[in-house]
Each structure stands twice: as C-alpha cells, then as structure tokens.
Symmetry: C2
C-alpha cells in the first residue's frame, strides 16, 4: 500500500507548496489525497467527511482554508452549480490531465463531465484566448465552459 509517510514518496504537489513557502502539513496532505482519490464535484462538507474518516482531528475550518489555498494556487477548481454550496475538483490529476467541461441539467441538477472535445474545440479555445489576451490586455490562466439544459431523464417531463 502507498503509505502516506514512506521515505522518498514525495507527492507531486510538494514542490508547488515549497515554491510558495507554504508548509506541508498533515491536513493538507490528506485533503489533497482525498481530492485525488475521489471523483468530481465534492462540497467542502463532502471533503470534510471523507477527511474525517482518515484523520478525525482535522476540523471543518481547516478544510475550507485549505481549499481556498488550493484554489488560489490553481491546483483546484471551485464551481457553483447552483445548489447553494461550492463544489471543488482537482485541476490536474496526478495521472491523466483532467480538464473538462460541464453539462448541467437545470431540472434535476445532474452534472455530466465531458472531456471528449471535438477536434476544433481545443484549437478554438487557444485561438480565442490569444485574441482576447491582446485585445483586452488580459493574462488568461484558465477557463470554464458549461452548457445548461435538460438531461435525458428529464427531457421527457418538461418539453
């Protein structure tokens, strides 16, 4: 098993923290591990509960603080899908790159990740970013794209 403290088992985010002068603490490591293992759209409380199983001493306030830090560092994305609480997901997984866009059902709230962009899509995003960058003198770091509508289960109900 990949023990948390095994010698030489430095995780990929250690450098990110060191570079910013942030300390690598138990809570931060566990929160990142939880994010890395779980998939998609966890609320702060979801994360707190998962973290709590591994290490019950970690408080909810720390979860919020750490998430804010991770968002500022660009390691985590924060989303609002309209259910009154923020949702978080790792910006880039350890393994596969995880950038994706969202389909959101306005009826049942279901969220579909899609990463199977059509060919032109990636190309256009780059092009648009470049154009906007110079037109508005804006240094673009990332983007979010969401489509709203009715999922298959819901499109029967409301026409």
């Amino acid at each position: 098993m990949p023990g948390r403290c095994r010698k030489g088992a430095k995780k990929w985010w250690h450098n990110e923290f060191r570079g910013c002068g942030y300390r690598i603490t138990i809570p931060r490591q566990i929160i990142l591990e939880v994010l890395d293992k779980s998939e998609g759209h966890l609320s702060a409380e979801d994360i707190f509960l998962k973290v709590h199983k591994v290490y019950p001493a970690i408080g909810l306030a720390t979860v919020y603080r750490t998430l804010e830090l991770l968002v500022n560092m660009g390691l985590v994305f924060k989303f609002d899908f309209g259910d009154g609480r923020a949702r978080y997901e790792l910006a880039r997984g350890a393994k596969e790159p995880s950038h994706h866009h969202h389909l959101i059902c306005t009826n049942c709230g279901r969220i579909i990740d899609y990463t199977d962009f059509i060919d032109e899509e990636i190309e256009l995003i780059k092009k648009t970013e470049k154009e906007l960058s110079q037109k508005y003198n804006f240094a673009i770091k990332n983007h979010t794209i969401q489509f709203y509508g009715l999922c298959d289960r819901c499109s029967g109900d409301k026409k």
Copy 2:
C-alpha cells in the same frame, strides 16, 4: 417619457408572463425595468436598492422571488463570480441581443463582458452543442463561458 402605465405601452415581457399564467404585478414590472435600464452584474441587493428608489414598498424577499422566477423563465441569467453573492443580468435586452461571455480578474474581481466573438467562435459553439446534444442525449438551452486571469491593471503586481 415612457410612462409605466400608459395605455398600449405593453412591454415585451408581458406575453412571456401571460403564457406561463403568471400575474403581471407592479414589483415584477419595476424589477424588469431596473434590469433593463441598468447594465451588468447586479446583485439582489443592488437591484433591491434601485427598485426601492422607484417604489419603496417593494420588499427584498420579493426581489429574490422575482429573480428566481425570471431565471427559471430564462429571461435572466444568474452568475457566480466568486464574491459570495449571486449576480444577475437580463438574458436578452429589449434592443440589442446581449449574449456575451466573461473575462474575470482573479486578483481584483473585475469583470469584462465581451461580445465581439471571433468568427469561428459562434460557429463552434453551435457545432459543439449539436454534437453534445446527441452524444449525451442532452437538450442544451444555453451556455456560459468564462476566462479567468489577470486584468491589465493587475498583471503588473503578480507576475
């Protein structure tokens, strides 16, 4: 001057309301007028204050209720730009079509609307919507696109 109650001065949204069986009330009319006159990214309280000047009897709860209604009707978009309160804007203005995307400065919170899409952009959105619609059997109604980064004023500070 375009008086609110002049005979025959029916606003464009009257039909929308009638079609859904909703009553056309003073508060709803004033809220829509305020949205129509003002531009961009107002919070519920912003709207409440503007509405209050015109008609002080209207309560904050009504503003929230009406905005929710308008969002559900598709007349208004609701955004979260990360400052802890929802922001609203009219989906389609009376005059110009107002669909646009956003550039958001992660440092100072400034928001830039852009509507000067590059040619391919509109084309691609349509194409993507069509493709996603059939792949995920999802009836797409609309979308949001936001780019995050540093605005001109802020890109000096943080490199």
